[in-house]
């Protein structure tokens, strides 16, 4: 049973909200299986008992039976009544309404085709990987920057649409440390398939360390890697700010930028890009080789994504990769 559950994330919950759904699913499935068993038994009995044999006369003509009709109207009704009460209870357990006026802990914004996560208190902004402390029940506000997306982490709770102009909330909680898969469940265009994310649940201490690192600006790494330890890093920094990268991507550092500030969150914030596991919504693992391929031509790896092929030279790519690798 545990093995089966482990293979089916919906039945392997790690939060009370997801557990409520899983329990409900099992109860309703058992009830449905019971009805299904009745129907198939009856059909099977007809097949075996009432097969026509050659020379059979026409069977007795029966037109109906009102009592039986009433029976098979009332019985399902009672079953549905039970289901309805289970539903009402399950709704409260799996997606309880937040107390009015409660501020969200986390804002997740869906973009074509990546996730932006903003931590309200610390001001941390990250993409595609959501770190949470184990056992804490976080209120998440779900928004969209363009079309409708849907936030779905099957082991953590119900899914919820991210509708432009209609923010929703959801509770996010994991009672066991681990990395949990999530994906966009509402078709949102070309690269809907590669709009995946992770929720990383870690101990309070680890989470605080992560949050502290994420709130730091990138200056620290850059200074440490100066002066002239690796000139490519510096060249990469220059390239990032001189070319169009900085129009969409933000990197928080304390060096004066040479171009205007980027559009707010048009693309993932790269301040700590090197600490993430995957690139571009889960399409490739994050390592220098893949980063190189990505920068060379993102359209080959994630066709249709909003990042154009910038026709970078090999040297520019090397410099950018060297710079990005410092952004831990």
């Amino acid at each position: 049973m545990n093995l089966v559950a482990a293979a089916l994330p919906v039945l392997d919950p790690v939060s009370p909200q997801a557990a409520a759904i899983s329990d409900l699913f099992i109860a309703i499935t058992v009830a449905c299986a019971f009805i299904f068993a009745i129907v198939t038994t009856l059909v099977g009995a007809c097949i075996i008992r009432f097969r026509s044999k050659p020379g059979d006369a026409e069977p007795r003509q029966v037109y109906g039976n009102t009592r039986m009709e009433i029976a098979w109207t009332i019985a399902p009704f009672l079953l549905l009544l039970w289901m309805f009460f289970m539903t009402a209870r399950g709704m409260t357990a799996s997606n309880p309404d937040p107390v009015a006026g409660r501020e969200p802990d986390l804002i997740v914004v869906g973009h074509q085709w990546w996730w932006e996560a903003r931590y309200v208190k610390s001001g941390v902004i990250t993409a595609n990987e959501i770190h949470i402390p184990v056992g804490k029940k976080l209120l998440v506000r779900l928004e969209s920057a363009d079309v409708i997306h849907d936030f779905w982490a099957p082991q953590l709770g119900p899914k919820m649409d991210m509708v432009p102009g209609h923010p929703n909330t959801i509770w996010l909680q994991a009672d066991k440390p681990g990395t949990y898969d999530g994906a966009c469940a509402e078709y949102c265009g070309n690269q809907h398939a590669w709009m995946r994310f992770f929720v990383i649940a870690e101990s309070e201490k680890e989470f605080e360390a992560w949050e502290k690192n994420e709130s730091s600006s990138a200056r620290f790494h850059l200074v440490k890697n100066l002066p002239g330890v690796d000139s490519r890093i510096h060249e990469g920094w220059n390239a990032f700010h001189e070319m169009t990268c900085a129009n969409c991507h933000a990197i928080t550092d304390e060096y004066p930028t040479k171009v205007s500030t980027p559009l707010p969150n048009a693309a993932p914030n790269l301040t700590h890009i090197a600490s993430r596991r995957t690139l571009a919504g889960g399409v490739i693992e994050n390592n220098p080789a893949n980063l190189r391929r990505w920068l060379k031509n993102p359209q080959l790896i994630k066709p249709g994504c909003k990042m154009p092929n910038l026709s970078l030279t090999d040297e520019q790519v090397e410099n950018l990769v060297a710079y990005f690798e410092t952004l831990k």
């Binding site: 293979a7 919906v10 009432f50 079309v147 119900p158 509708v163 432009p164 509402e186 078709y187 398939a193």
Partner: protein, 737 residues
Amino acid sequence: MSESIAKVPHDESLEHGLLGWVGTIDHKRIGILYLVTTLGFFLIGGVEALLIRIQLARPENNFLSPEVYNQIFTMHGTTMIFLVVMPALIGFANYFIPLMIGARDMAFPRLNAMSYWLLLFGGLLLHFSLVAGGAPSAGWFTYAPLSETPFSSTKGTDYWVLALLVMGVGSVASAINIIATVLTLRAPGLTIRRLPLFVWMVFVNSILIILAMPALNASIVMLLIDRQLDAHFFLPANGGSALIWQHFFWTFGHPEVYIMALPAFGMISEVIPVFSRKPIFGYEFVAASTVAISILSFGVWAHHMFAVGLGYQGNLFFAASSMLIAIPTGVKIFNWIATMWGGSIRFTTAMLFAMAFLVEFVIGGLSGVMFAVAPIDWALTDSYFVVAHFHYVLFGGTLFAMMAGTYYWFPKMSGRMLSEKWGRVQFLLLLVGFNMTFFVQHFLGMMGMPRRVFTYPDLPYWGALNMISTVGAFIMGAGMLVLVGNIVMSLLRGERAGDNPWNAWTLEWATTSPPPEHNFDRVPPVQGRRPLWDLANPDKADWKFKKVEGGDPSFGKNRTCMFSFLVSEAVFFIMLILSYLYFNSGKFGGPTASSSLDAFKTGIYTICLLASSFTIWLAEKYHHRKQFAAFRGWLVVTILLGVVFMAGQGAEYVGLFDRGITVSTNLFATSFFTLTGFHGLHVCVGLVALAILLGLAMARDGAKMIAPALGTIGLYWHFVDVVWIVVFSVVYLKILS
């Protein structure tokens, strides 16, 4: 009844060859055209399904680009729903309803032909998008704002809208025709309560179509106005609402699910009794549960929207209503089983498909009940679990029923039997292939695989289950090829069928196979629900054991037609009025009704339009009294009043344009121009019809001949006035805000 038949023009030269098929208005030929066309589209949609399954056969596959994949799954859904299931069921209805009620043809043969050609050209229009910049790729429910220009910039969605409008008009026309046929052309003795269940269910279904399709038409017209005229209905960035699209679409979309199921239920209700050798168990309950399903189907749309954040009360209401619909559906299942119980079952291919339908449809129905449990929906909607669910309903259910119908009725249509041997082969292939393809998808959904992904990461078991699903799809594909082969072989050298190869009981089996052009030399007497049983077993005739009373109100053909049409039009305007009310309830910048409309001036034009309702009534009165001069006079006055109204609306529009207010200005302008514009269009159509009437009335003896048309057009004209009273009260007098 017979007067309508006499009027069908008969041209011998048109009977043979290709031109005979193009020019035909015979319901049997039109029915065959429908079925051949839908089989063609089914093969296209099937190939699309196979392409989808090849791409998904293994993780991170590169067989199709995401762009192409998204177009293919959109086309697959649109094709299967609008070009296969719906029209195929209409095709069966077209061929068999007149035969089953002992009629010579449909009530309006020309309208019938028009419906078919609209379907064909709608389908071609949809596929023309392929050469006009790319097929639509926003999915079959085309959620806004993804479907709006900023996110779908190719012309695909525009073609999708236009094609659906064309087909939608065709479907409504078919439904009106079916309603009029069933109400007015039944053989003597065949009362409403004695209708074969297939006819009854198609009849109820037609009412569902005229109520549901206009909701789709209104929604897609608004989408088209957004896309082509820069309006803002569904663009949140400009104040529009993404959720209103969903509410409007599913107002149509959920009844649509039953539109695709009820006629299939009807086929099952014909096939199971005949091959069990018993009458349907609980006829009244099977018939009444159909009505219950239809009514409930309009109160459940938001169960498609549990995950959009409707709030606790909303979710709970729609969970309850969706569960209720399981009751009448369950009643049907139990009655079908009770029909088989104690019977003498012949396992023909048709019966095999019908029995597989029972089991598969129950699986799809039960997973449907699970989705009514909102928290389960939150876990599994938009995953492969839902893909499995609706394929169990539409393929395992409807398509298996249509296969049962095909094997049952093909001999009547062609005069030749389909091979039972190859039928069994096809049945086995479809049964194994179907369950292999879709059963595993339940598990993929529970593993977290979202629907509509062009590929997926290599997570444990995902690749293996998807591969099983793909292999199953190819087995189904082989099954469909066996059907095509079986049909061809049967047409070439199939066994002769005779009039009644299954020893069945409804009227279509009382004539030759295929039936002659006029259908019946003589319609047998009808005293109950199974006239041929009564004829064959006079001592055990149904009416001796279970009397079904006759006595129906009589309906006029033209008025039934116009009334059905106006009901459908009313739904269209209700949607537009609701959208006006919704979009003008919020706050936004720019012009509003108060700042830009002149209720007094428009009030004067309104009085003109209302007066025209009175004058057309006078015209009808004088026509009835045969005072044709006075009749013509009042008709002219009616037209003049209508023209004054239109001139007033024109002047109002010009005034607004002068102040820079157009449909793209803001939400008020968007909804105002759409609502009043469509009303104006209706007035213009009415004026054209009145002008034609007047022209005919001017001819010698013309005034006498237009009597039937006058009544129906009068009805239409009154309707247009009533709509305006509502529009005027809502928009100008603001009675609801």
